[in-house]
C-alpha cells in the first residue's frame, strides 16, 4: 500500500472509532452497576450482567411502547404506499393539466414545515378525537408521507413502458385490473424505497407523538424514552439499559435493510 493510502485508512479508522465511541459508552453503562461505574468509568464489567435490562424491562412499559411503535409505523407506511402508488400511477399515466396541478400541489406541500401545521393539527385532532388513538396519528403520517411518495411513484411509473398496459386494455382489462395485475408487480423497487425511508422517519419521530400520543398506553418508543429518561435521571445505568433496548430494533432494521436504505437515499437525491 502506498503511504497516502495508509494515512487515509488510519484517518477513516480513527474517525470510525470516534463515531462509535458514544455508543460504546452507552453499551458499557448499560452492563454495569452504579457502583462499578463509580469505581472505574471505562473498565469493562467483570461479567455479563443483564440486571439493568431486566429492571428496565419491568419498569418501562417497553413492550407496550414497542407494540405501539410497530402498529403506528406499519399502518402509516402501508397507508403511504397504498395512497401514493395509486395517485402516482394516475398522475404519470394521465399527463393532463388537472393531474399535473395535483402533482405540483403535492410537491409544494413538501416545503411546509411541520411547525406551521402542528398547532392546527393538534386542534383538529382534538375536535375529531384523533388524539391518543393509533389511527389518528397514522392518518397524519399518511398525509405527510404521501407527498414524497407520489413524487417517487410518478417518476418511476413514467419510466415504465405503456405497451403491456395498452395490450391488456385491448384484451378488455379494466384500469384497476391493469394496475393490480401488471403495474403493481413492477413497482417493487420504488415501494422498497418509499417503505424504508418512511419507516425510519416514523419510527424515530418525536414531535408528532409528543402531540398526539401523550397517554402512557399509546406512547411510541422515542416518546416513552423521553419520559423514562426524565424520570430515571438518577439511575443512569438503568436509563442506559433502556436506551440500548430502544436502539436494538432500529439498528437491526438498518443492518438488514441497509441495501434498500442506501439505494433509497441515492434515488431520492436524483429525484430532487
Amino acid at each position: 500500500m502506498r503511504p497516502t493510502r495508509v494515512l487515509a485508512f488510519a484517518f477513516v479508522a480513527l474517525l470510525a472509532i470516534v463515531f462509535l465511541f458514544p455508543l460504546y459508552v452507552a453499551l458499557l453503562m448499560s452492563l454495569k452497576t452504579a457502583q462499578q461505574t463509580f469505581q472505574s468509568f471505562y473498565a469493562l464489567p467483570p461479567g455479563l450482567n443483564l440486571s439493568n435490562f431486566v429492571s428496565a424491562w419491568q419498569t418501562s412499559h417497553y413492550p407496550t411502547a414497542i407494540v405501539n411503535s410497530l402498529i403506528v409505523t406499519a399502518i402509516s407506511v402501508a397507508l403511504i404506499v397504498f395512497a401514493s402508488a395509486l395517485a402516482g400511477y394516475a398522475i404519470a399515466r394521465r399527463n393532463k393539466p388537472f393531474y399535473n396541478l395535483i402533482f405540483v400541489l403535492f410537491l409544494s406541500g413538501m416545503m411546509v414545515p411541520f411547525q406551521v401545521t402542528m398547532l392546527p393539527l393538534y386542534k383538529l385532532g382534538k375536535s375529531l378525537h384523533l388524539i391518543n388513538t393509533h389511527w389518528g396519528i397514522t392518518l397524519v403520517y399518511g398525509g405527510m408521507g404521501v407527498q414524497m411518495g407520489v413524487l417517487f411513484y410518478t417518476g418511476f411509473v413514467k419510466g415504465i413502458s405503456r405497451e403491456i398496459e395498452e395490450a391488456a386494455r385491448i384484451d378488455g382489462c379494466s384500469t384497476p385490473g391493469i394496475f393490480a395485475r401488471i403495474v403493481l408487480p413492477l413497482l417493487k423497487p420504488v415501494t422498497a424505497t418509499v417503505l424504508v425511508l418512511n419507516a425510519l422517519y416514523i419510527w424515530n419521530d418525536f414531535l408528532l407523538p409528543l402531540l398526539y400520543l401523550q397517554d402512557k398506553q399509546y406512547r411510541t418508543i422515542p416518546l416513552q424514552q423521553y419520559f423514562f429518561f426524565g424520570q430515571y435521571s438518577s439511575d443512569l445505568n438503568l436509563a442506559f439499559a433502556y436506551a440500548v433496548m430502544g436502539m436494538i430494533p432500529i439498528v437491526a432494521f438498518f443492518l438488514f435493510m441497509q441495501r434498500f436504505i442506501i439505494k433509497g437515499i441515492a434515488a431520492g437525491a436524483v429525484k430532487g
Binding site: R5, A8, V12, A13, A16, F19, L20, F21, P22, L23, V25, M29, Y42, F82, A83, S84, L86, Y89, A90, I91, L105, F106, G109, M111, V112, F114, Q115, V116, T117, M118, L119, L121, K123, L124, L139, V140, V146, G149, V150, F179, W203, D205, F206, L207, P222, L223, Q225, Y226, F229, F240, A243, M247, I250, V251, F254, Q258, I265, A266, A269, V270
Partner: protein, 292 residues
C-alpha cells in the same frame, strides 16, 4: 353521448386513484395550513373557543420582538455551521470510501449508523458523554473539561457536534452515488495528462458532482433550519437563551405560553423564510452545474 360516457368511466378510475392521496394530503397539510394562516391574524390562546381578529398585529409584533430575532440568529448560525461541516466531512468520506479503502462497506455502515437512532436517544447519550464520558476520558490526559451544553458560549457547538455525528450518513451516500456517476474514462484521461489526485478532484470530480452538492446543501440546510428534537431534548433552548431556535420558540409560544395566534404568525414567517432559502439556493447552485 355514449362516447362521452365511456370517457368519463375511463377517467373515473384515475380520479378515484387520486382520491386517497389527495384526501390524506388535504387533511394533514392543506387544511392545517389554511386554518393556521387564519389563526395567525388572531389573538387566539390555543384553548378558548373565542378569538378576535387583530389584522397584521402579530406580524408587526414579531418584527419588534428581539427574542424572535435572537432565535432566528441562533437558528441560522446553527444551520449554516452544520451544513458546512456535514458537507465537507461527508464529501471527504465519500471520496475515500468510493473505491479506495479496505473495509469500505463496513465504514459506510459505521458512519451511517448514528443517523438511524432517534434524536431522543442520541441527545441522551451525548448529554451523558459530555458531562461524564469525555471528562472522565480526558482526565487521564490531564485535561479538565465540563459539558459544553451547560455553558452558554459552547452549548451551540455541543449541539452542532451531535448534529454532525447524526447527519453525515445520508449526504455521504448521496455523494458516493454521485461519484459513481463520474465516468472512469474522464478520470483516467486526466491522470494520463499528469493530473494528481487533488487536481482530478478539483477539475473533474467536483464539477460533475455539482448536482449532488446542490441537493446535499439544500437538504442539510433546510433540515437544520427546522431543528427541533435535538434542542428540545438536550438543552431546551438554554442555558439562558443560548440555543433557542425558531422551532422550539414556536413550540413554546404556542403550547407553553398560550399565544397560539402569535405562534402561528411566527411559523408563517418561518415558512416564508424556508421557501426563500430554497428558491435562492436552487437558483444559485443550478447555474453552476455542468451538463454531461
Amino acid at each position: 353521448m355514449a362516447q362521452w360516457k365511456r370517457n368519463l368511466r375511463g377517467e373515473m378510475w384515475y380520479l378515484l386513484f387520486l382520491l386517497p392521496g389527495v384526501l390524506l394530503f388535504v387533511m394533514a397539510v392543506l387544511v392545517p395550513l389554511v386554518t393556521g394562516a387564519r389563526y395567525s391574524f388572531t389573538d387566539w390562546d390555543g384553548i378558548s373557543p373565542k378569538l378576535h381578529y387583530t389584522g397584521w398585529e402579530n406580524y408587526a409584533n414579531a418584527f419588534r420582538d428581539s427574542d424572535v430575532w435572537d432565535a432566528l440568529g441562533n437558528t441560522f448560525r446553527y444551520a449554516i455551521v452544520v451544513t458546512i461541516i456535514v458537507n465537507i466531512l461527508s464529501l471527504f468520506l465519500a471520496l475515500l470510501l468510493d473505491n479506495y479503502l479496505k473495509f469500505r462497506n463496513g465504514f459506510r455502515t459505521i458512519f451511517f449508523l448514528p443517523g438511524v437512532i432517534s434524536t431522543v436517544l442520541s441527545g441522551f447519550i451525548w448529554s451523558y458523554n459530555y458531562s461524564q464520558g469525555f471528562p472522565n476520558l480526558l482526565r487521564h490526559f490531564g485535561l479538565d473539561v465540563t459539558s459544553p451544553l451547560g455553558n452558554p458560549d459552547y452549548a451551540m457547538l455541543g449541539l452542532v457536534i451531535i448534529a454532525v455525528w447524526q447527519g453525515v450518513g445520508s449526504p455521504m451516500i448521496i455523494y458516493i452515488a454521485g461519484l459513481q456517476g463520474v465516468p472512469g474514462e474522464l478520470i483516467e484521461s486526466a491522470r494520463m495528462d499528469g493530473a494528481g489526485a487533488l487536481r482530478i478532484f478539483r477539475s473533474v470530480k467536483l464539477p460533475l458532482l455539482a448536482p449532488s452538492v446542490t441537493i446535499n446543501l439544500l437538504l442539510v440546510l433546510t433540515g437544520s433550519l427546522k431543528v427541533f428534537d435535538l434542542v428540545y431534548v438536550t438543552t431546551n433552548g438554554g442555558p439562558g437563551f443560548a440555543t433557542e431556535v425558531i422551532a422550539t420558540s414556536i413550540y413554546k409560544t404556542s403550547f407553553a405560553n398560550y399565544k397560539a395566534g402569535y405562534g402561528m404568525a411566527l411559523s408563517m414567517i418561518f415558512f416564508l423564510i424556508l421557501v426563500i432559502v430554497t428558491i435562492v439556493q436552487v437558483a444559485v447552485f443550478r447555474r453552476r452545474e455542468v451538463e454531461m
